[in-house]
C-alpha cells in the first residue's frame, strides 16, 4: 500500500512516471471523508433515527418497529448478547491475586506516615520559643542552669 506522505519514485527519480499530485490529493481527501460516514457496505442510511431513539431508551419498541422491523429484530438479538455480557463477573482469583501482590501491612503507608511524623517533630523542634530562642537552645540553657544549681548546692 502506498504511503501518501512519501515520494513513491526510487532514490534516483529515474524511469518512473511523474506523480499525479492532484489525484493523490483527491485520494487523501476521500480517505479522510470516509471516516466521517458509515463503513463501506453500510446500508444507505444506517439505523433510522427511530431506531437510535429506541436504543437510547427515548421511545418504545413499537415506534422503532414501525420504522424498520428487521433492524429491531437484529438489535434485539444483539441486545440479548450484550445483556449476557453485562452479567459477567470478575473471576474470584483476580481479587486474590491483587491482594497477594500488595506490600504486607501497608509498608508504604507506614513509611510515609513515619516520614511525615519525623518531619513534623523536626519542624516543631525548630519552632522558636518566646524571646527569639529555639527550643533546643532553651533546653540546653535549662540543663546548664540545673547543673550549676547542683554544683552551688554541693559547695554550700
Amino acid at each position: 500500500m502506498l504511503n501518501q506522505n512519501e515520494a513513491h519514485d526510487d532514490q534516483f527519480g529515474q524511469d518512473l512516471p511523474q506523480r499525479d499530485v492532484a489525484a493523490d490529493r483527491s485520494i487523501a481527501d476521500r480517505q479522510v471523508a470516509d471516516r466521517e460516514v458509515p463503513l463501506p457496505g453500510a446500508s444507505a442510511d444506517g439505523p433510522s433515527l427511530a431506531l437510535h431513539a429506541w436504543l437510547d431508551g427515548e421511545t418504545g419498541e413499537a415506534e422503532a418497529r414501525r420504522a424498520d422491523a428487521k433492524q429491531v429484530d437484529l438489535w434485539n438479538r444483539i441486545g440479548a448478547e450484550t445483556a449476557a455480557r453485562r452479567r459477567m463477573t470478575t473471576p474470584a482469583y483476580v481479587m486474590a491475586n491483587v491482594m497477594a501482590a500488595l506490600p504486607e501491612a501497608s509498608t508504604d503507608a507506614r513509611v510515609e506516615t513515619q516520614a511525615m511524623l519525623a518531619t513534623s517533630v523536626a519542624a516543631s523542634a525548630m519552632t522558636e520559643a518566646p524571646g527569639g530562642l529555639s527550643l533546643p537552645i532553651v533546653a540546653m540553657i535549662g540543663a546548664g542552669l540545673f547543673a550549676a544549681g547542683l554544683l552551688v548546692g554541693k559547695m554550700i
Binding site: P38, L39, G41, A42, S43, G46, P47, L51, H52, L55, D56, K70, Q71, D73, L74, W75, R77, I78, G79, A80, E81, T82, A84, R85, R86, M88, T89, T90, P91, V94, M95, N97, V98, M99, A101, L102, P103, E104, A105, S106, D108, A109, R110, E112, T113
Partner: protein, 188 residues
Amino acid sequence: MTTTDTETPFPEVDSDQDVISRIIAGDRNLFAMLIGRYSDPLYRHALGMTGSPDVAEDILQTSFIKAYHHLGEVRGRFDAWLFRIVANGCKDWLKNIRRTHLSYDEDDQPSGYASPDEDLDRTELRTDLDDALAQLAPSLREAFIMKHVEGRAYEEMADLLGTTVGALKMRVHRAREALQALLEEKYA
C-alpha cells in the same frame, strides 16, 4: 447461617474516601472492599475493549495494584479515577497489540439458552459481534461497550470520559451504524 449487619466485613456505608484514608493509615486489607465495589464493571469494560478474558484480568490486576500504590493521589471521585486507569490500560494494550482473532473463552460463560440450536446460534452471534467490535475504532468501541454492555447513561459516560453527551451520542450512533452494516447481511 444468617448474615447480620455486624457480620458484614465491608459495610457499604463507608465512603470511598473513608476507606482510602484507613488504607493509607495502614489497614491494607480494606483495599479488598474497593476491589469488590468496582471490579465487575471494570472487568466488563476491559473484556469488551480487548475481547480476551486473560488480557482483561491482567489489565484489571495491574490497574488495581497501580491504584493501591497511588491512593494518596486520588482527588475527586475514586471510581472515576480508577476507571481512567483501566481505560488507559485497555487503550495502551490496543496500541501495542498486533490484533489477531480474539474471542471469549466458551468455558467461562455458562449457557442460559434453552436448546442446543439456540446455544449454537448465540455462540455464532457472539463471535460475529466480537469480530465486528474489533473492527471499530477504539473510541467507538469504548462508547458502545459503555452504553450497551455496561449499561451506563450518557451523562455518566461523559463524566468518566471527560467529554460531552453529544459527542458520546455521536460515537454510539456511529458504532451502531458500523455494527449494523457488518452484521445485518447475516442476521437481519
